[in-house]
Symmetry: none
Subunit: 125 residues, 4 copies
């Protein structure tokens, strides 16, 4: 996953979101060491302070913890990660259903369309 920083939202928020995805999707698995702030900042092309803020947010959310001398690590509490993953998923699902309802699709229709698409994709990927 590459960084795709846009100007519309605060940068640190976008960083937080991206890092969260890396954790809940297992790119950074439980207990793994996270790259150094400077490294992550360089990768994303942002100021280290901005990346620092994003990482602090993740710590506040319990997804990361810091070991003074050795660096930052993904939490070993898989329940915490699963919970976050489901919270985000739930929110995206709600948004999606609501946006489809805006177009005049009932939940049933949306479900049917999505099933079709998922099956079609399933053949390819």
């Amino acid at each position: 996953m590459m960084w795709n920083i846009t100007s519309d939202r605060p940068i640190y928020q976008q960083l937080t979101e991206g890092l969260t995805e890396r954790i809940v999707s297992g790119i950074y698995p439980p207990g793994a060491k996270v790259p150094a702030v400077r490294e992550l900042a360089a990768e994303a092309g942002v100021n280290p302070n901005t990346m620092q803020r994003a990482l602090a947010d993740l710590e506040r959310d319990g997804l990361l913890y810091t070991q003074r001398t050795s660096g930052r690590f993904v939490t070993e509490d898989e329940g915490r990660i699963t919970q976050m993953r489901e919270t985000i998923a739930k929110s995206r699902i709600e948004d999606f259903l609501s946006s489809m309802r805006q177009l005049g699709f009932t939940s049933e229709e949306t479900l049917r369309l999505l099933t079709q698409t998922a099956n079609r994709k399933g053949d390819l990927q």
Copy 2:
């Protein structure tokens, strides 16, 4: 539906999208007269020229047509409307599936979660 203009994308694009939704969802049914430019602009709290641009876009897309002095009307070509509705739906579905895949959900899992949510909602609405 109220206007909810944010600053992240061009206003005229958001207007275009909102008006499109009104049409494909049947709020503005085929053949119906659309409120005057100045009226819509006032409703959305934008400059009439900005609303004009959004309406011009819809005209280009074949969703509206203009009668010189009597106003703008939704196309009577229901096929065009249906087509647009499905194009948008398809795009939203793809985006949704892709965003769920980012979180590490397969299409099957996404489908299962969405089914649960839709059913739960179904009880309420």
Copy 3:
């Protein structure tokens, strides 16, 4: 080619047409950088916004594309240009034949007259 803005049709339309001719006739070849909006506007003696609208139309038609900060360029898709060239030619031919028919000339007579003229011109140019 100089600009020759008359008052009967919207200026932006005339600009669109003139720019299209520059492209399909190769004055602005495929991939070439188009002068800046403000420059073209000055050349034509119109407001930059008016020129902007004309350029936006060409972009919509796929004859131009924009690179955010470096300027506008003619499409490299020569097929698109050829297609546009032929569309315009076809339309002019139809108009011409129809206007000659107004004068009571059949297509055959028109063809004969045009052949004569073309041959005569051929000697000169």
Copy 4:
């Protein structure tokens, strides 16, 4: 043929042109009586004085003549009509060739395209 008065050129000029077409195309044949000024003016939706000016122009060109008490008539000099017809045709042909040259078509190419179109039309009409 209906009147299609636009605002870009003097109205009387457009009237002159339209009437000339009616004569050279034989809608008003040699020697025929032309409708009364008031009638023509009403038909075109213009002031009788404006139509009068157009008719005066045609008289100056030798396409019409007036008989004091009985009205205006198309000239019986068919040579004059033919000459006018060819003058106009020649001008339209030049304009057409020039406009095609603007698009980058040589006279030969234009000729070829027009031949194709004329033949195709020939089948239908």
